[in-house]
């Protein structure tokens, strides 16, 4: 793999990992909101 492709791939890997972490946190918060709503009923 050329240096150019390595740099571009590294950039997107970093961004995808971060977005993946955010998606994981989102689903955890949604689950917690669901639990709170269920308790409230």
């Amino acid at each position: 793999m050329s240096y150019l492709h390595a740099a571009y791939a590294a950039t997107w890997i970093i961004h995808i990992i971060y977005v993946g972490i955010l998606v994981g946190q989102y689903s955890r918060v949604r689950r917690e909101i669901q639990e709170i709503n269920n308790k409230g009923r």
Partner: protein, 230 residues
């Protein structure tokens, strides 16, 4: 809101793809470095985006210290976090460019060292926010952010006022650049800025939801405590 987000996401993805096409196909090949120079179209916009985010962090931290606004605190946290992501891209793509051009991955040059220090300052800011349980954490973090922001102009102007191994500025500072290269550079910056804005929006919403959930759980815990005491 739920409908706008996917549309903006799709538009940003199209814009980023177009910017990638410009960087790989439309931009002319640099004569001395060849294709490896195209790393510049990701490295420089990422650095500029990180600087903008750190400036937002600085402004939000000052606002928080003056008004104790919860929104300013969230903006400060979110901008620092996304700024660190873009700064990480800068610190990774820089050495990948340096290896074939300079023959080394890293050198303790002023620009490079100050950028690493900048990254470490904001990583410590995030570590403080994540692990400190003190009620004064937002204030302490805001002071750290204001002091940390002093490094941003040092990083930016280090190549203007000092002799460093890092290439001289291509925009301003007496540097020159091919108009097509400049166009591709600015388009990539615009695309990455749109991406950063979208991530910022999502992360802001996530942080707001997290705090609401924490508050609700705290209230529930308070209401349940007397029952367990009995």
């Amino acid at each position: 809101m739920k409908r706008i987000f996917p549309i903006l996401g799709l538009l940003t993805a199209v814009f980023l793809s177009y910017a990638l096409y410009l960087a790989l196909v439309v931009a002319p090949t640099e004569q001395t470095m060849g294709d490896v120079q195209r790393i510049f179209y990701y490295h420089v916009p990422s650095a500029w985006t990180a600087f903008v985010l750190f400036f937002i962090n600085f402004a939000a931290s000052v606002t928080y210290l003056l008004r104790r606004s919860a929104k300013a605190d969230i903006v400060a946290l979110v901008s620092a976090e996304i700024g660190v992501v873009f700064c990480t891209v800068v610190l990774v793509t820089g050495p990948i460019w340096a290896r074939p051009v300079w023959g080394i991955w890293w050198t303790w040059d002023l620009r490079l060292t100050l950028t690493l220090v900048l990254w470490l300052i904001y990583v410590s800011y995030l570590v403080l926010r994540k692990f400190s349980t003190s009620g004064q954490t937002p204030q302490v973090a805001a002071v750290l952010a204001v002091l940390g922001a002093l490094d941003v102009p040092l990083v930016y102007f280090s190549i203007w006022f000092f002799r460093t191994q890092h290439p001289q500025p291509v925009v301003g500072g007496g540097g020159s650049i091919d108009p097509v290269m400049l166009h591709v550079l600015l388009m990539n910056w615009a695309a990455f800025s749109c991406f950063a804005a979208l991530v910022f929006w999502s992360r802001y919403r996530l942080e707001t939801l997290k705090r609401e959930v924490e508050e609700t759980q705290a209230v529930e815990a308070l209401l349940e405590t007397p029952r367990s005491v009995r």
